[in-house]
């Protein structure tokens, strides 16, 4: 029992870590693109990315399940061409979590970019620096609090995910069974003690991580 407990927690945090890492790579360019965009499709882009905030997770999970299912064209193609099976697998959980936590990465980072005085980038351009160099050496270092908020919230939100995972991941110990699912499962089996253990870990984690975000943001505000 203890082994399964640790296995589940390890899987939960591993999923959150992998998702967050990929979200850094995906979310920052999206946030940068939206913040620079003057397109009339910008509101539509913003709405699309923020949809997981308001939709029931089961909606996203349901459509991902349909899309990734080997009987659908996308799922079939992924499995044949790339050997990637996304239903009831860890990889599938990662993909689902990326969609689900995307707004938590994009929104703070985007507002970080938007609150940065535009003349910092302009000064860099007149000094002959490319957009990429400006992004890496001027813009990103000056939105550290926003980046940190995005990273921590994405991680924490992925840990707390339930509906999407239940839909496309199921409940396979060591593969797709994360803490939030385990709690549900233990309660179903009337194992309240075990459910309590998982729940307490998540509560402690949530408090710790949020206190850290607020603490670091306060420090950075003072320093800045």
């Amino acid at each position: 029992m203890a082994l399964e407990f640790w296995q589940t927690l390890w899987l939960t945090f591993r999923l959150a870590a992998v998702t967050t890492l990929l979200l850094i790579l995906i979310g920052i360019p999206i946030a940068y693109g939206i913040s620079q965009s003057r397109s009339r499709f910008k509101p539509a882009m913003e709405a699309l990315i923020s949809m997981p905030l308001v939709l029931p997770p089961t909606v996203l999970g349901f459509y991902l399940l349909i899309a990734f299912s080997p009987s659908g064209w996308l799922g079939a193609w992924l499995e044949q061409a790339l050997g990637l099976k996304l239903v009831f697998t860890f990889a599938g959980l990662v993909v689902g979590s990326i969609f689900y936590s995307l707004p938590f990465m994009v929104q703070p980072v985007q507002s970080g970019f938007e609150n940065l005085p535009p003349n910092l980038a302009e000064a860099s351009f007149t000094l002959g620096k490319s957009k990429l160099e400006t992004l890496l050496r001027v813009q990103l270092p000056n939105i550290k609090p926003a980046l940190l908020t995005g990273i921590v919230l994405s991680f924490a939100h992925t840990v707390g995910e339930f509906g999407v995972i239940l839909m496309i991941g199921g409940n396979i110990p060591g593969q797709t069974r994360v803490a939030s699912i385990a709690i549900y499962d233990e309660v179903e089996a009337l194992n309240y003690g075990m459910a309590n253990q998982y729940a307490l870990v998540l509560i402690a984690f949530a408090f710790f991580i949020l206190a850290m975000v607020y603490g670091i943001n306060r420090q950075m505000l003072r320093a800045g």
Binding site: L120, E122, A123, F125, T126
Partner: protein, 273 residues
């Protein structure tokens, strides 16, 4: 913004652009730097075409090699003074220009500080030095001194003139401060509603000497120095600074930025060559 300007600037010239706010001064500078694009226009610099809307040619700001000093300095908050300057270095450019500029703008003691810990005048010096690291031929100054007090302004005007001469720059200064413009520049244009118009003349330095025997010179107090028994007041008259000795009781109600009249006896003025 409606802006309609035809302008030719000679090499080595110090051109000032004045005009009320909203007249298009800053936009004109940003057009030259390439930060905004004109609907229709043509810009050429030393034989290179920067902008030709007829041929859809538009050089990016990165390729125009101008030095631009922003009104609010735009220093990078994550870098120290020295790092701000080093960031501006071109690939493979020798470091010693950074040290040279740090000397010229007297930033040696501040080079390890971050911009947040600098005064306005110090930040301005860093912005000026940073704009010169790539040794541009053209220096653009956007209201560079508007946020500073009178004493600091006089000091920085001195730095600007110094680098303009030392690096043989062509300089364009945008400013709404009449005195500053007349002190620094060799040519002045005024903008009004996006068009060039005749600049207003500065207030005369020599006021009418109706009494016949006194000269009245009008100027601005830059700095008041306290001596042991007397005060030395630096007054900007036209483009020149004059040091005037006064008694403490006369100096007590003066402060930097005041407009004063210097009156002195001139019954038999002597003109010497």
């Amino acid at each position: 913004m409606e802006l309609d300007v035809h302008l030719k600037i000679e090499q080595g010239e110090f051109l000032a652009i004045t005009g009320p706010s909203g007249s298009g001064k800053t936009t004109l500078l940003r057009l030259i730097a390439g930060l905004v694009q004109a609907e229709e226009g043509y810009i050429r610099s030393e034989g290179t075409v920067w902008l030709d809307t007829a041929r859809k040619a538009n050089l990016r700001p990165q390729e125009r090699h101008v030095g631009l000093v922003f009104q609010d300095y735009a220093l990078f908050p994550n870098m120290t003074v020295r790092q701000n300057l080093e960031y501006a270095l071109r690939k493979g450019q020798a470091q010693n220009i950074v040290d040279e500029l740090i000397e010229i703008t007297e930033l040696r003691e501040l080079e390890k500080r971050y911009p947040a810990r600098l005064s306005g005048g110090q930040q301005q010096r860093v912005a000026l030095a940073r704009a010169l690291v790539q040794q541009p031929r053209l220096l653009l100054l956007d209201e560079p001194l508007s946020a500073l007090d009178a004493g600091m302004r006089a000091k920085l005007q001195h730095y600007i003139l110094r680098v303009h001469q030392a690096y043989r720059l062509t300089t364009i200064l945008v400013s709404h401060d009449q005195r500053e413009v007349f002190k620094l520049s060799s040519r002045i244009i005024a903008l009004q509603h996006g068009r060039i118009c005749r600049p207003e003349l500065p207030p005369p330095v020599l006021l009418s000497n109706a009494s016949g025997s006194d000269f009245h010179l009008s100027g601005e107090v830059l700095d008041i120095e306290k001596g042991s028994s007397k005060f030395i007041i630096k007054v900007l008259i036209g483009a020149n600074m004059v040091r005037v000795e006064t008694r403490p009781e006369d100096a007590s109600n003066l402060q930097a930025g005041d407009t004063v009249t210097i009156r002195f006896n001139a019954r038999q003025p002597e003109l010497v060559r």
